[in-house]
Symmetry: C2
């Protein structure tokens, strides 16, 4: 199995090579330390598996991966990362990366590389745990981001539950007029036209 290793930190790349070379089936075709190098070396060496850091100076591992996949749709890219950042996970998934594992667990790297070589997709245990959450819509709508007050936020929640102004007033112990005023303010702040658009906004910005 021909392997290409890319890591921002050359020392890490070297260590990886040392560790992985011990396996007699693995031949490390080249080492690199940037996204640009990844793209170039991939073309030159056409490895079976590309083991690459995500965070790197210059273009990120994700971007490099996209370029490589564009040219070699079957490329098997296995990402190494220090953190497990939701955003990266989602991007890596969307990009079709074959794996995403945490650098820390050394022992896991070799089996992961082997599995990817065998056509599997390997995501480190902790990473996988996040996917179910990501699958379900966020329940909390935080209007603070849009400059809404606490009360206004509650009104938004209520509107998003389909309540009428009267019902909202009863629920929040306010007068109906006040609720109307709140809604007016909310709509202005969010630049929306009516409560229906507010509900839509709520559900599309969950």
């Amino acid at each position: 199995m021909k392997l290409l290793i890319i890591d921002d930190d050359s020392l890490v790349a070297l260590s990886l090579k040392t560790i992985l070379s011990q396996d007699k089936d693995i031949e490390v075709a080249a080492l690199g330390s940037s996204g640009e190098e990844a793209v170039r070396l991939y073309d030159e060496t056409l490895p079976d598996v590309l083991l690459m850091d995500i965070r790197m100076k210059g273009i990120t591992g994700i971007e490099a991966g996209e370029q490589i996949i564009a040219k070699h749709p079957d490329a098997k890219i296995l990402y190494l990362t220090t953190f497990n950042d939701d955003e990266y996970i989602a991007k890596a998934l969307a990009m079709g990366a074959k794996g995403y594992i945490i650098k820390q667990d050394y022992e896991a790297i070799l089996p992961a590389v082997r599995a990817v070589y065998g056509g599997q997709t390997v995501y480190g245990g902790d990473v996988m745990k996040k996917i179910p959450e990501m699958l379900k819509p966020k329940l909390t709508f935080d209007g603070t981001e849009y400059g809404l007050t606490d009360q206004e936020n509650q009104v938004v929640e209520a509107v998003a539950r389909g309540l009428s102004n009267k019902e909202i007033a009863d629920e929040l112990c306010l007068s109906e007029g006040t609720v109307r005023n709140y809604i007016s303010n909310i709509l202005r702040k969010l630049d929306l036209r009516d409560r229906t658009n507010l509900a839509i906004f709520y559900y599309t910005h969950k």
Copy 2:
């Protein structure tokens, strides 16, 4: 590594044992052919990895897995399946299964088992491809299920985009009155109160 193998078809279980036993690191602790057996044998043998079929007579692999995880939160369960059914994938993910691979690719099974033993999570290539789609909300609302006509459906879409009756009328080349009538009908059919609730219904029913 101690391995427990469960497959509806005893022959398959046996074949798996034969294949996997060739690896000197693997010891097959037991074979089983039902979800109930899986639960029992897991308790008895406490394997490092449980390799289990999903579709089985009696309780499914998923249910068995849930019971096992409930008792042994760190259980490493690797599902084998003939199909890659969205529903099962989602369930397996939510349950915390460590893997989900297609039976067909024999060569993949051994590396997958090894990777799972090493703490990784392994989802077969095709399986993984589905996750990004599952991550984004379904765009199509099929009102047919609720007895809505084609036109009514278009109105629903329009309402869900936040348009006013006038705007909808213009867009669909109808009179505003007709749009109002449509909405009346839709609300009755769906047992909703107003357009805001309709929009909410739309977004909460994919």
